[in-house]
Subunit: 251 residues, 2 copies
């Protein structure tokens, strides 16, 4: 018997932002593999099995999930946000490529979700309204020099930048260094948005100029969006400002 | 009396990928402004008013929506995908910034959705599993020279590239030129994904090497994802291959 494996993205955290397609896949799953806090959000039934793991064990988690599916289980691999953006879909693919031939015969489905930068951008206005990029600031899986080179290239090219994995206990200085590099390429007035747990009760949200951006405003669950030189702030009486990147530039 | 304005993203087109939050906002809306085909998907009630417009009339549509809200209506501005990604949220912000002071007092809410590149990526595997960018290929609102410069910069920096608005009747040659530029910076074997209407009955989906990528595989509703030099293809017996970008590089 051959099982199947579904990789789902539950969205930014507010259950009202989880798609019906993902909810249905969760209802149909038997075994759930994921970072423990993501599994905690699912309200699983007693007959559904939780297989939590630490957030730095992505490949071993992917292998365990594929192994369970190859034994006939209906397996659900759970990511927050979208599973294809710095999350479990790439880890599962990597495990399949380097794993036993039988894993290539499994039915694999990836169900998209609302990734963090989209939720943070919506909270702010429309900072991703023009060309933009998403860069993981984690140097666990790529050299820091490459990250620096990419930050310079995209800032000079005029792209808005969404930073994922901006900081952690094991990576305490990288975000401050990134801000320093970006200050060399962008005006100090460029809006920087810190968004964490947007739409949840523990939301943290702030907009500051790049010249004052402090890495202590972020934790590992924060998405940081740095505008381009075109990104604008609209002040509004009694309300948060709107931050947006105009659709056009140079015309 | 002051109304309110909600800007929603309905996702890639499959209603199962529209978030409950967006469905609720649509159910609560009185007047709906958007590109006609997007409004057609909403199944509005007879008491809800459709205000369709052409897809090149974003700013006048935004102004009409803001005007209706300022007269007290509960207005819903509708985008496909996510409203913050090359869609209506930036147009509404732009209209507010250049419009009457009263528009700054309106309650504006942006509700995120699953943007096209996430749905296309999920269909393919995990091509956005590493650093990536989203670039609109439309030179209606920025000079073509700037687009060329950005394509070169991001390809050389090793980012996966999602192209929005790749082609239209008024812009017939830009996508072929983009492929030509990218062939100078990337291996001809780099996977290129064409995804249109993913998850809908009229889905078109194809993966080809960059050396063979043909702009005729795209129309204006297609999202084109071009891998980086690291992006890989896993062949599978009797199934579509998996395309993914490894989480790590150079380590």
């Amino acid at each position: 018997m051959t099982g199947k494996l579904v990789i789902v993205g539950t969205g930014p955290g507010n259950p009202e932002q989880t798609t019906p397609q993902v909810r249905d896949a969760i209802a149909a799953g038997e075994q759930f593999f994921g970072y423990a806090p993501y599994l905690d959000r699912l309200n699983l039934r007693p007959d559904q099995r939780r297989m939590p793991s630490d957030n730095r064990e992505e490949i071993s988690r992917a292998r365990a999930a594929l192994d369970a599916a190859s034994k006939g289980a209906s397996v659900c691999v759970v990511s927050g946000g979208d599973p294809g953006v710095f999350a479990m879909a790439a880890a599962v693919c990597e495990a399949i490529e380097t794993g036993p031939e039988t894993w290539r015969r499994l039915q694999i489905t990836v169900l998209p979700g609302v990734t963090a930068m989209l939720a943070v951008a919506a909270r702010a206005g429309a900072p991703l309204g023009h060309d933009f990029c998403a860069i993981s600031l984690s140097d666990n899986l790529k050299p820091w020099e490459l990250i620096e080179r990419r930050l310079r290239a995209v800032a000079e090219a005029g792209l808005v930048i969404a930073l994922y994995n901006p900081i952690s206990k094991a990576r305490p200085w990288q975000l401050a260094t990134a801000f320093k590099i970006l200050r060399e390429a962008l005006p100090v007035t460029t809006p920087v948005i810190f968004g964490r747990a947007v739409g949840r009760p523990d939301e943290h949200f702030a907009v500051v100029p790049l010249g004052e951006a402090d890495q202590q405003s972020a934790d590992m669950a924060t998405c940081v969006i740095i505008g381009s030189a075109e990104t604008r702030i609209i002040e509004r009486p009694g309300m948060d400002p709107l931050v947006y990147s105009p659709r056009g530039v140079g015309i």
